[in-house]
């Protein structure tokens, strides 16, 4: 009944046209970043550069000082990786206990986590900042990682718990009967089976942490430890209309995410659609 007809081909062509127009901003972003200072000011935004000029990238990547872009990339990598590690470790073990042990307190804990997902975070920001400042956890990566683990743990626990509930207990029972301790059974047998859940948690948390601006601005503001978005904000604030340099920073901030996205786009899309429903 529904077949690929001429009308479908027309529709396909139209959709492509709309998509390409929609993605024009990204095209402008790329061509501008490769222009020289002079070209960026004088040529049309959609004109391609006369030759690939890496000057803007080199200048951005050799910035020094407090808002040095290379340093901020390193900080962002450390904070993102640390947060993902903590969220996977703490989230999976907590969810395992919640999902497998059916006691009253584990149920209560589960609801505690569920409500925390719905609770908006804004109101807690001021007290968290005051608290972190008073114990010296502002302005450094450790405080930031702890903050992110706290903020995103409900999501991690929720995702892991729903995956654990779908997994039969036979695997770990077999492992324990064969002589594994509960800890070994979990880390050697159960957690490896949970790689789809781990992937979803890592993708969601990684994206949120890597792209975050608000929390880094508040909790790392004014310190020497800056994440890439904050460094980008400060760096761009000091440039007046040097769009080739601004876009070079913007592209540098996008590359890691886009690389991951290319390799695992299906996972990304499913993880995002599935994970945020919770």
């Amino acid at each position: 009944m529904f077949r690929y007809t001429k009308a479908t081909a027309v529709r396909e062509a139209l959709v492509w046209l709309v998509t390409l127009i929609g993605l024009l901003p990204l095209y402008i972003l790329v061509v501008t970043a490769f222009k020289t200072d002079q070209e960026a000011l004088t040529t049309s935004a959609i004109a391609p550069p006369t030759s690939l000029d890496f000057g803007a990238f080199i200048e951005v990547l050799t910035t020094t000082g407090r808002n040095s872009i290379p340093m901020s990339i390193l900080n962002s990598v450390i904070i993102t990786a640390g947060s993902i590690f903590g969220l996977v470790l703490l989230g999976s073990v907590a969810a395992y206990v919640i999902a497998r042990r059916t006691r009253r307190w584990t149920n209560a804990t589960y609801y505690l986590v569920l409500i925390a997902i719905i609770l908006p975070a804004q109101l807690g920001t001021v007290p968290l900042y005051i608290g972190a400042r008073s114990v010296g956890l502002t302005g450094n990566a450790i405080g930031m990682i702890l903050l992110w683990i706290g903020i995103l743990l409900p999501l991690s626990v929720f995702l892991y718990a729903s995956f654990f509930r779908g997994l039969t207990t036979e695997y770990e029972e077999a492992a324990v009967i064969d002589g594994a301790s509960p800890t070994q059974a979990f880390f050697r047998v159960v957690l490896p089976l949970m790689s789809p859940a781990t992937g979803t948690v890592a993708i969601l948390a990684g994206l949120i942490v890597w792209n975050d601006f608000f929390n880094s601005l508040i909790f790392l503001g004014g310190s020497t430890t800056q994440t890439l978005p904050v460094a980008m904000y400060t760096y761009v604030g000091g440039l007046v209309s040097a769009w080739n340099k601004i876009f070079a920073v913007v592209i540098i901030s996008m590359i890691p995410i886009l690389l991951f996205y290319m390799f695992a786009q299906k996972r990304f899309i499913q993880g995002f659609a599935g994970g945020l429903k919770g």
């Binding site: 396909e12 986590v113 409900p154 209309s241």
Partner: protein, 374 residues
């Protein structure tokens, strides 16, 4: 998770039943197991009320088989006899401890403390007083802050409406038949994974006075429409809205694509054969099927829309003259730039109440619909 072997079973296909033993052995999730077994039994000719825990199925005159249908999903596995220990110990109870402490600390304790600060004049240092509702009176008497409340709602509703209309149209356009729909989906979802701040800079360039947008307007002879978009009191908020919509449409589209995948092509074809036009099929076949997706997309959209922050700071910084301030930017400015922690908390409380209000309201509406449907 071991993937279940979900077999393409249809009512009436008798070959399905012999496969059940195989299915029951695989480690499928509980819900699927029941669905598959029940489907297979239906396929083998059983009626709904005949699908019991244990039953003998006649596949053909010479073959019968006894099947165990798992009990209904949603219930916990049968309780252990009280007092007896579980077969094995699942981890250690204290594994949940770090999570409990962090969740209570970062979410509950912080939010409650913030709610308390909202009624004080604390500045982060020194003494503070309990000042009752003064902070809130001040918010609702200040035209700038009232404007911020209005802008917050405008951006939330504007982005929800636009992203949902565009996302649904796009999902419908690529849902069926298109050969390149996966590439299109990947391309359109791409902006979603990018940093909102980075995306905002790209759009800042586009909205510059000598930028591509005005250049385009000039090229097609609409010079009178050219503006300093980001410094225009009326249009700057629209510029922010467009930036947000451009980035979020792909996300909404993916939610709708997932919903549309649940509409069986046969049903749509049947409706078309019965003479339903495009609109009729959309209204009576597709919309009822994607209601859950609509609920999810609008709820998430409102919650995200109420919190828009990065784009505003990058595009306008709240200007011109406060025309694009929102509650989120004001919370940041009052609490962290001006050090008015009490007053900033009061603004955050207003934002929180609005977010919770909409979330609960939306839950209520969607539940109502389901009841009405059932």
């Amino acid at each position: 998770m071991p993937q279940s072997r979900i077999l393409p079973l249809r009512r009436g296909s008798l070959e399905a039943a012999p496969l059940i033993t195989g299915i029951a052995k695989t480690n499928v999730c509980f819900r699927h197991k029941r669905v598959i077994v029940a489907m297979a039994l239906h396929a083998a000719g059983a009626h709904d009320d005949e699908v019991r825990e244990q039953m003998t199925v006649t596949i053909d005159p010479t073959t019968t088989r006894t099947l165990t249908v798992p009990s209904k999903p949603g219930r916990r596995p049968p309780a252990r006899p009280p007092g007896r220990k579980p077969l094995i110990s699942y981890g250690h109870w204290w594994w949940a401890l770090p999570a409990i402490v962090l969740v209570i600390g970062v979410h509950y304790a912080a939010t409650l403390t913030g709610g308390f600060f909202a009624f004080t004049n604390w500045t982060g240092l020194g003494d503070w007083e309990f000042i009752g509702l003064d902070n809130f009176v001040r918010i609702f008497r200040d035209p700038l802050l009232l404007g911020a409340v209005w802008n917050t709602l405008f951006l939330a509703f504007g982005s929800v409406i636009l992203t949902n209309v565009l996302g649904l149209l796009y999902a419908l356009a690529i849902n069926r038949m298109l050969k390149t729909r996966y590439i299109l989906r990947t391309l359109l979802f791409m902006p979603v994974v990018l940093s909102p701040l980075a995306v905002a800079y790209v759009w800042k360039f586009i909205f510059q006075y000598d930028g591509p947008l005005n250049g385009f307007l000039g090229a097609i002879g609409l010079e009178e429409l050219q503006k300093v978009w980001l410094a225009d009191p009326t249009w700057s908020i629209w510029a922010i809205l467009i930036t947000v919509v451009w980035q979020q449409t792909g996300f909404v589209m993916v939610i709708y694509l997932a919903g549309l995948a649940s509409v069986p092509i046969e049903v749509e074809e049947a409706a078309a054969l019965d003479g339903a036009g495009i609109w009729g099929r959309f209204r009576h076949v597709i919309v009822p099927a994607i209601r859950p997706s609509i609920a999810i997309a609008t709820t998430l959209g409102i919650i995200q829309g109420l919190r828009i922050f990065d784009q505003i700071l990058a595009l306008t910084g709240g200007g011109p003259a406060g025309a694009t301030e929102t509650l989120a930017t004001q919370v940041y400015k009052q609490a962290f730039s001006l050090g008015q922690f009490g007053f900033g908390s009061a603004l955050a409380l207003v934002l929180t109440v609005i977010i919770l209000g909409f979330a609960i309201f939306q839950q209520y509406i969607t539940r109502d619909r389901e009841v009405g449907k059932g």
